[in-house]
Every structure is written in structure tokens, then in C-alpha cells.
Symmetry: C2
Subunit: 696 residues, 2 copies
């Protein structure tokens, strides 16, 4: 569902329900902001108590306004919200932003009112931002539909859009961005998201050609696939989405039938989904600021090879460490570069990378410029970071050098300046020189630039399947499929399964074993026995007819013994596959993202080390590769310990097919575990499967 938010965000006229002249109040501030920031459309305060407000005509109600109203700001107590919104529908406004609290965040009654509001919004096609929001602004057109403290400051339309699920925290982040010289084209607080969700709002701002960088703050999404679709769109437009997502520990593991289900902390699914679609996740508000600052001020580097230049050996080592651990490459300089540096850098400095030009550059400022120019001329360098500390007296000269260097190259130069004087920071912000207060923060920001450059290039090369919006699952108790049925399902999707057949008696088992080839395993086939090993209703490693005959009787007896009422469909005879790496691949239904695929190595890796990775279905082949590469145990797939490397192509194809199955069966599949899959140089074969489906 694409919503038309044009009139909401770019209104020709704005009505304010509950407008007030007290500019300190929630219902007074938007009027003040609109006037202060020079909104040029019609402003229509609504309040029956006043004739005029702040020199404007004040209206008793919406219908009295004769001019067109595109946006309604509703800042009245909760009980008055619904009548106000009905008036908006009547009038045909283009959208409403509802500041009022007392809805879903309050109690059950509020929740119900919120649902009613949302239903009316959709029926009438009048989108709502909120309720319980501090509102939004579109600085390009001076639309200040907010009561946030941040509306009071310098609201200029910069290249950054910021959508936040938290009003107070979002406001603080805006203030911090402003301190960094970054102004927001859009600031949007999604509030309770009764109608418009975070993804809807992000989807709008990402399309504005004035927006180059998109930032978000997320506590929990309502519609994961919608965000993923926006992410695809942003990548196509070449714009980074930088997101701080909290609630890592919150959701916890949910009870579930399968391994896949019980392992899923929803936060890890978020991380997997973000990586899959090129959304840059940051750890906290400070990293958000740093990364947004980097993208606002810097070009993208062509690669991850960084030159580190300092006047302090210590800072150089610190940056080199961090660069390596963040996945940047500390560039290897050419002999030519080193020769040129030797001419310039003092003998007691260092021309390795990191390069230490020593404090000598204070006496000879051109040393700074020359060094950076030499370094940027090296084809093995993609970007540079210069670190310095203090230098209050020389700030102007130093900044001039940066400017000169920047003019001469397309490669990004990031500046890490410890204890920079305030005027130097202000000057750099003004000039668009990306600057950071510490060495490590500059490196983290550089990593984000290089990482996004790679993601964008990948995106241009490899098409990814579109995000999938799953249909709802039918209600009712989910049931596992019989193993044979689960195997058939896998085979329908091209997923190799170890050869098997279901038999009814011991002689049938022997015939099956001979035809499959020894050794074989026997497992009871019963919808009532989910964990066959708990029931001892299976036998592994059977090498001859006699063993199979005995095992048949034993397995059936054990099943009856375990549950005398169990319905027994027969016994499954399956060819044993040994001496391979065990892999687990699973599917679960995530409430936010729909069907998600998990992969990990068998045994301790999943059970003890929780070494698994997630992606949202459907997956591209590249997603499957990245999932595996994320595993700490990945080296075991590529021949660590002198074992044969696993056929990764086959394993990735299997994972992709599992994703396809998850999508195409999304109207019934609740969970799926392929556990284990036996992987080797010859391929990847599922030997056991648990598929849980919703009732038809």
C-alpha cells in the first residue's frame, strides 16, 4: 500500500486544532515555529475561544475555513481528537499530524480509540502521523508541524532526513546534529504509528531529491518488509540509510517447537535483514551522528584502503588497530609514495602507514598539505584520515591546508581532532570538512563510508529479489508434517534429501535397505511422536538385513511404549550419510519480517555457541553466501583442519531454495528445520526435517 503523503508534507495550507497563543505550550509552539521559520502557505488556527491569534484570524472550526487546507495539526485533548479528525475527513484535508497523547501508550481504552482512528484514516484515505508524536518538519518548505524543542533553533533544509520512533530522544539527536553543523531537511517522529508507520514515513523522505542521507531511530517495526522495500529504493537512488535500533536484549527467545524458533532473538533478525538490504546499523546515538556527519560531508571512497596521517605515533597505532578490526585496510603505500614522503616528513617521523609527520607541521604548515597530497596520489589509497590534537593557535592555518588538499582530490579526507577549539569545529562544519572528536570515531565513520560504497556497488551488480509481504497465517494449533511429507516438500523445491522410503513391516524394511544401499537408519513415522530420539524410536548405522529386521521391531515397540495411543504410519528407512559437516538451516515466521531463514553449523555451534545467522526470505545467492561467511565456524566449511572444503555453491543454492519454499508456502508454513544437512565437497543433503504447518 503506497500512501500519498504529498499534501501532508508539502501543504498549501495548515490548520491547527487547539491553537494557542502561549508559545511555551504544545499547542502554541507550531504556530510560533510556522511564523518564525517563514512558512508561506496559509496558517489557520482553530480555537473557538479566540478571534485572532498572533495576528492571524482564528477560526471556530475547520469548516469555517474557506481556503484549501492540506495539513491538519491536531493538538487537543484525547477525547476531542476523533471529532477533529472527522472534521478533517469532511473537509477533505490531505493528512493530519496528531500530537495528542492518551492513546495506545496509555491503556486499553486508548488502544481501542487508536485503532478506530486508524480505521477511519484508511477508509477515508486521510493519512495520520501519530498520535502521541512531537510531529514533523519539512524544512525545505518551512513546514514546522511540530512542538519539539528542536523547532526553536536553526531549521534550515540540509541534505539529511531523520525519522525517529522516539520524540524526546529524537529531539536530543537533532540538537546534537545541529552542534555538528548538520541541518535536517526532514525531521519526523512517527509516534504511535496508528496509521503511517516508520517505513511509510521513511519511504516518503527518501524520494525527495534534496535528501542525500537518511537517518532513522527504531525501537520496533510494525512492517519489516515495507522498510526493506524502502531500503531497496534508497540503494537504487544511491542514498544511505543509517539506523540506530534499540531493544537488543528486549524480545528474548520465544518458545517454539524447533531449534530455529527458540534461537531467534528478534534483534538478530533485524541485524540480518538490515545487512541484507544495505541498511547501515549503528550502535548508539553518537555513532549515528558520526556516520551521518561523514555521509553529509564526504564523498564515497572507491574502496576500503585507508591512509592514516598523524602528528602522534600513539593515535596512529590506535587508528590502525581499529581500522583493521572494523574491516578497513591500512593501505600499503607504493615505493614511489614512500620516496616522496621521505623528502617531506622529518627523519624522526615515520613514513609507514600510519604516517607520523611529527609536530614539525606547526612550524611548516605546508608539510601537512604536501604529505596528504602525496598520500592521495597513491593509487592504493582510497581515503585518508588526519589526526591532530589541540593546536588552538594554529587552527586557521591547519584548516586552510585541509581545504587545499580537499580541492585537489576526489578521495575523502576525514579529520580526527582531539580537543579541537570550538571555532575550528565550527569552521570545519561550515566548510563541509568531516570532523570527529576522536581517532576511533573517525575510523568508525570511515568504515561506514567504505562499507556503503561496497554495498552500493554490489547492488548495482546483483539484482536482489523484492521484499516479500507475507499473507497472514490461519489461526489454530500448528501441526508437524509427517517426515515423508516434509521430505517431499523439500524435494519439490529442489532441496536434496537423503534417499528414503516408508515401509509397513520388517521385510519391507529389508527390501528398502537393500535398494537404498547400506548403511541405513530406521525412524518411526508417527504424527504423535515429535522427538524420535526421546522415544528411542529410531536406529542408526544399520549395516545388514538382520540388523534392519531387529531394528524394525525395536523401533515400533519403542514408539508404542513411549505413547500407547500414538498413531503409527510406518517406519521410515533412510540411507545413512556419514563423515560430513553438519549444517542446520531453518525457517521461522518472524512477527516483523515474515518468513526468515536461519543457518548455522550443527551440534555445539547452534546449541551452545548460538553461532547462527539470519536473512529474510526470499534470499539472493549472495545473501546465502554472506550468511555463511558471518558464522564464526565458517572456516570449518572451507577446509580448516585439513578436511575437504564443502561445496558452498550447493549449500547456498539449498539455502536459497529454502527461502523460496518459505515464501511460496507462507500461507501455511510456521516453522521448518533441516537438521542436520550433511554437507561435503559433493554437495549438501538434508537427512532430517521438521516442518510445522498451520491447520488448513
Amino acid at each position: 500500500m503506497t500512501r500519498n503523503l504529498e499534501r501532508l508534507f508539502r501543504p498549501r495550507g495548515i490548520a491547527i486544532f487547539g491553537a494557542s497563543e502561549d508559545f511555551r505550550k504544545i499547542n502554541g509552539r507550531p504556530l510560533k515555529f510556522l511564523l518564525d521559520q517563514g512558512y508561506t502557505g496559509g496558517i489557520f488556527p482553530i480555537n473557538p475561544k479566540y478571534e485572532t491569534l498572533a495576528g492571524l484570524r482564528c477560526y471556530p472550526d475547520l469548516c469555517t475555513i474557506e481556503a484549501p487546507v492540506d495539513l491538519a495539526i491536531i493538538a487537543v485533548p484525547a477525547p476531542a481528537v476523533m471529532p477533529a479528525f472527522e472534521a478533517c475527513i469532511e473537509k477533505g484535508v490531505g493528512g493530519a499530524v496528531i500530537f495528542s497523547s492518551g492513546f495506545g501508550e496509555m491503556n486499553a481504552e486508548g488502544r481501542e480509540n487508536e485503532l478506530r482512528l486508524a480505521a477511519r484514516a484508511r477508509e477515508a484515505s486521510v493519512p495520520i502521523c501519530g498520535p502521541n508524536t512531537v510531529g514533523f518538519w519539512n524544512a525545505y518548505e518551512h513546514v514546522l508541524a511540530t512542538f519539539s524543542q528542536a523547532g526553536d533553533g536553526d531549521v534550515r533544509g540540509g541534505p539529511v532526513a531523520f525519522v525517529t520512533q522516539s520524540g524526546a530522544f529524537g529531539t536530543a539527536i537533532v540538537a546534537l546534529l545541529r552542534q555538528r553543523g548538520i541541518s535536517l531537511g526532514y525531521f519526523v517522529n512517527s509516534g504511535n504509528e496508528a496509521d503511517l508507520t516508520f517505513a511509510d514515513l521513511l519511504g516518503f523522505v527518501v524520494e525527495d531529491p534534496q535528501v542525500r542521507v537518511v537517518a532513522g531511530y527504531i525501537e520496533g517495526l510494525k512492517d519489516g518488509p515495507a522498510l526493506l522495500a524502502v531500503a531497496d529504493r534508497a540503494l537504487a537512488l544511491g542514498k544511505p540509510i543509517i539506523v540506530a535500533k534499540v531493544g537488543r536484549s528486549g524480545a528474548g527467545a520465544r518458545a517454539a517447537l524447533s531449534h530455529t524458533g527458540s534461537l531467534a532473538g528478534s534483534d538478530r533478525i533485524y541485524s540480518g535483514a538490515f545487512r541484507q538490504r544495505g541498511i547501515l546499523r549503528v550502535d548508539d546515538e553518537e555513532e549515528l551522528l558520526d556516520v551521518v556527519a561523514a555521509f553529509s560531508h564526504s564523498a564515497l571512497p572507491k574502496g576500503p584502503r585507508v591512509a592514516l596521517v598523524t602528528h602522534s605515533g600513539g593515535a596512529g597505532v590506535l587508528m590502525a588497530d581499529r581500522a583493521e578490526s572494523e574491516g578497513l585496510e591500512v593501505a600499503t603505500l607504493t615505493e614511489q609514495t614512500r620516496t616522496a614522503l621521505r623528502e617531506v616528513v622529518p627523519a624522526f617521523g615515520s613514513i609507514g602507514n600510519p604516517i607520523d609527520i611529527t609536530a614539525q607541521f606547526i612550524a611548516e604548515p605546508r608539510l601537512l598539505r604536501q604529505t596528504l597530497e602525496i598520500v592521495f596520489a597513491d593509487h592504493g589509497v582510497d581515503l585518508g584520515i588526519f589526526y591532530l590534537g589541540m593546536m588552538d593557535a594554529f587552527a586557521e592555518t591547519i584548516i586552510e591546508q585541509f581545504r587545499a588538499v580537499q580541492r585537489g582530490t576526489e578521495k575523502p579526507l576525514l579529520v580526527a581532532w582531539a580537543a579541537a577549539p570550538a571555532h575550528a569545529r565550527a569552521k570545519m562544519n561550515e566548510l563541509g570538512i568531516a570532523n570527529f572528536p576522536t581517532a576511533t570515531r573517525a575510523v568508525v565513520a570511515a568504515r561506514a563510508l567504505a562499507g556503503f560504497a561496497r554495498v552500493r556497488a554490489d547492488h548495482a551488480l546483483h539484482a536482489r529479489p523484492a521484499a516479500f509481504v507475507p499473507p497472514p497465517l490461519p489461526a489454530g494449533e500448528p501441526r508437524p508434517l509427517p517426515s515423508a511429507r516434509a521430505f517431499e516438500l523439500l524435494q519439490d523445491y529442489g532441496i536434496p534429501v537423503a534417499p528414503w522410503c516408508v515401509v509397513g513391516d520388517a521385510e519391507g524394511a529389508v527390501r528398502a535397505a537393500r535398494s537404498l544401499g547400506y548403511p541405513v537408519a530406521l525412524k518411526v513415522e508417527s504424527p504423535d511422536i515429535r522427538h524420535k530420539s526421546d522415544a528411542h524410536a529410531l536406529a542408526l548405522g544399520l549395516h545388514d538385513d538382520e540388523a534392519v529386521r531387529h531394528a524394525f521391531e525395536r523401533v515400533v515397540a519403542a514408539a508404542s511404549n513411549y505413547d500407547s495411543a500414538a498413531h503409527i504410519d510406518g517406519v521410515l528407512v533412510q540411507k545413512m550419510i556419514e563423515d560430513e559437516v553438519e549444517v542446520i538451516v531453518g525457517v521461522q515466521r518472524d512477527p516483523v519480517f515474515g518468513p526468515v531463514v536461519m543457518a548455522g553449523l550443527g551440534g555445539i555451534f547452534v546449541e551452545v555457541l548460538k553461532d547462527v545467522s539470519f536473512r529474510v526470505a526470499p534470499l539472493a545467492l549472495a545473501d546465502a553466501y554472506e550468511m555463511l561467511r558471518e558464522l564464526r565456524a565458517f572456516p570449518l566449511l572451507t577446509g580448516a583442519r585439513n578436511t575437504e572444503p564443502v561445496d558452498l555453491d550447493a549449500l547456498c543454492a539449498l539455502i536459497v531454495n529454502v527461502g523460496r519454499l518459505a515464501v511460496e508456502r507462507a500461507s501455511s508454513l510456521v516453522e521448518l528445520d533441516l537438521n542436520p544437512i550433511k554437507a561435503s565437497g559433493r554437495g549438501a543433503v538434508a537427512v532430517d526435517a521438521l516442518a510445522v504447518e498451520a491447520p488448513p
Copy 2:
């Protein structure tokens, strides 16, 4: 070797070699600083060019000065340093700080001159700080023996001492500390450490009763054990040592015969050693500042249970996440506390933990105070963090509330204030209210406080063995001991070894196998065959006499085949121990810390996942426990996967004994690998050992 640094750091008179009137120059600044900061002892500039300098009498040389000189500042070109230092020895000064560069950092000649300087310093018992140092200050007594830019500012004697291996980076950190309202009692740059090392210098400042918090910046230590001894002393005095150590990626793995050796990145050894002795390691300069600020301003909490109070749900969730991942506990509030909060906190807020008091506290400031007082009265809360953003207009009132809360409790209150107005930060710094610019940084600082509180309590309860200074190893090619000799060595130290004996013929092997009990393993015993499995010179899982007879011939033949010149001492027959968890414990000789012990689980854990931990020998039992607990695979020792839990007491005792062996054999042991150790509920037994010794 304890050095007497009293006269160096608390001089009655200071001579300055190469003194200059140009206060912008390296040799001019100390004179300016001493005068500006009010040093009350004698100041004696030495420079034959001047009669007076800055109104002081200037001397042609040191011997002309009649008054006592305790400290000499040497700021002359490198070639003039040695003559100046000889004059210092002659005069009997108490110590010298040498600014001059052009020594070890420059070239081989400089390195030699530096060694000569150091040798003279030790012979004459005149300690040297430097060369190539920006110097030091002792602010309590206004001794500014530095040319650092930082000497120019507000040098008041605060409770923090800072010792740094980097002059430029250290200076930047001082500036940042000052911005945070933290003044340093001592600032010391250790320079090239020709004579006095980082540990020597830290050891001095930690003893000053005016110092409460010790900070350090390390690139690489010369004497690890000396630092560990200082750390013990600091713990006994109850003072935290907070250290930023860089060079994580630098050292890399060194070539070595054993697993232990090849796994050791020296940086992981630093981390292990720091943890063992209660040194708090921080990741970068910003975390250093935050943690130092926390210790400077806050009391220690009694435990890790934190209350998180905010006016922003978002910041609350962010802090709760981070608190959990950092190892703090988000406190569970009592029903009584919740009832009391319900009376105070607005209905649209939240009284869980995190507690959201909403923006209502702006209108009712006492809401802030009341909430915090209620929370601190809860016995389940050890410390609190309050988060807020902006609030420029209300800063004074808010800070007043903090003050009032702080006065009423001994529990620490940390303030995270995003985009705090500058005057508010200054005010909080002045009042000693620990404040941080972001939510996460406050949490990280809180974790450091709680972590140190625990370390200090542990230290008071459990005595740790003193740090060990190893003797040098003899030069020459190290050689592995025969297995039997290695086993005997282990047994000498009470380390259980699977029963074995060495035999010379097949019948001897059969007799040995019968007496040890089947199954057994046979391994060739030859000093020339280090990797028996590569040579196929071993046989495992032998169950009867016949198998042993065959295996004997096969093993000997394989050995001769592999290396026809190999000397064969016999064949080792050993009882097989199966179905246990495999553990690896090793020893290697670290160039910084001496003998260090490594522990990890066998197979993929060590080889692929590098899941190992290090401690410096000797170890306390508690160290061994912590080593194991650090392993990601630790759950496998405690009965994950429904296996029998390992006897941790036995395994830890084994590790402690390995540490004892490493110390007592430190004059010859180069490396030791117990690989594998079979651990189970019945104990821990080494089944193979490689001991490498230096030649006698």
C-alpha cells in the same frame, strides 16, 4: 629494583640545561611554566649565552650553581645530552628529565647512545625520565618539567595521575580531561624509557595519597611483571588503574613450535594480564576520559544493579540494552518502590526499569528528585543513571535536583545529558557530578565503576601470588623433551597424566598394555620426530595383545620410514582415555610478561575459533576459574548438551599447577603444550605433552 624518585618528582631545586627566553620553544617553555604556575623551589637556567633569563640568574654550567639541585631538565641537542648528564652525576642531582630527541627513535647510533645513557643512569643511581619525552608535572608542588602545550593551561592538582607512553597523544588527552573538569595531579610522559619505565613511573604516582585515580596510555611495555606489581599495590590502596593500550593488531602471531605459541597475539596476553591484576582496560581515549571522569566524581557502587531513569523511552531502552551487554544488571525494583513511583510518575510514563518520568519534570522539577530518591531507597539498586536531552532553559534547576539527590545517598548517580548546554556541563564538572554526553557512554562508565568495585572486593578476600620476574633464558636452539620426560615433569608438579610406560620391543609393549589395562595407544618415542601423527608413528584404540604386537612393528617402521636417521628411544604405551571433553593448556614465554598460561577447549575451539584465554604465571585458583569462564565454549564444561559436567576444581588445580611449573622452571622452559587434557566429572588428565626447553 625499586627506584627512589622522590627528588625527581618533588625537587627542591630545578636546573634547566639549554634554557631559553623564547617561551614558544621547547627549551623555553619549562621556565615559563615554572614561573607561571608558581613553583616555589629554586629555578636555575643554564645557558652560557645569557647572564639572566626571565629575571632569573642564568648559569654557564651546572657546577656553578651553589644551591641544591634535585631535578635537571635537559633540553639540549642530542650530542650535548651525555655531557650534561655526566655533569648531573657529578653534581649529585636526584634525577633528570631529557626532552631531547635523536636517540632510539631515530636510528641505530641513537639507540646506542640511549643504551649508554641508561647504563650511566643505573651505575650512578640518577634516574632518567626520557629521552624523547615531553616531560612531566607534579601539580601539587607546581613542578612543571615539561614542554607540553598542556602545561600552558590550568594545572591544578586534582586527584588523577596520568602516565603516557605518547607525548602528543597524551597531551591531547590532558586537554580533553581538562574540558571535562578533571585536573591532573601528575602528568608523566615516559618517552623512550631508556631508564625509568612506564611501570616505574606509575609505581611512583600510585603511592601519592593525593592521587585517587590512575590513568595510563600504553603502546608496549618493557617490563610486564613490574606493572603487575604496581597493579597489586594499587588494588591494596583501593585505587583504580585505567589503561588504554594500543597495538592490538600489531604484534601478530609469532612462529613457534606449539599451539600455545602460535596462538599468542601479545595483545590478548595484555588483556589477560590486566584482568588478572584488576587493571581496567579501555578501548580508546574517549572511554578513558569517561571512566576517569566516573572514578573522579563518583563513589563506588556496592554492586552492579543499575536503575535507569529518563524522560525518553528510547534512551531508556538503549541504556538497558547496553547495560545488559556490558554485564551490569538492570535492577528489579521492589513492589514497594513501584508503589511509591506510581504516586509520582505520570500515568503516561513508565515505572518499570528503565523508568520514564516523561517531560513532565520540566513543569515539576521535584518529580526528578522524588523519583531518584525513591529509586535509591530501593535495596536492590546499587547505582543510578539519569538521562536527559537539551533542556537549556532549565539547566540550573535540574542540576539543583541532582545535587539534592546526591547529598541524600551514598549510591552513585551518573548523568547522561545529550546536547547539554555548555554552562550546565561546566556547572556539573565544578560540583563533581559525573556527567556524560550520551546514554551509552554513561553506561560504559557505570560498568567500569561496578567492575572495579567487584575486583577490589575480590582482592580483599583472595590473596593472589605476587607477580613473578623471570630469569633470562639461555641462548641456543630450544629442544623438545622426550614425552616420557615431559610426563614425569608434569607429575612432579602434581599434574595427572594418563598411565604410560616406554618399552623396547613388541612383547614389552604387550606386557605394558596388560598391566595398564586395555585399550591402549602406542606412540614412537624419538627426539627427532616431533609430530608423530604426520609420521604415522602412532596407533590408537588398541584392544588386545595381537593388535599391540602389530602396532609396535608398524609404529617403529613408520618412524624409520619418515626419517631414516631418527634416533628411536622406544615406544610409549599409554592407557587410552575416551569420551571426555578435550582441553588444551599451554605455557609460553612472553617477551613482556614472562611465562604465560593459555587454556582452551580442544579441536576446533583452539584451531578454528581461537577460543582461548591467557593469564600470567603464577596463577591463583580464581584466575584459573576466570580463564575458563572467559571461553565461549565454557558451557561445554558445565554440562551443556546433557553431558556430565567437568570437575572444574580438578581442572583449575591442574592449570594452577601448570603455572607453578612455568614459574619454577622459568630458567629453561620455553614452551609447554598439554594437548589434549581429558576432562570429565572424575578429573582432568593429560594424555599428551610437548615440553620445549632451552639448552642447558
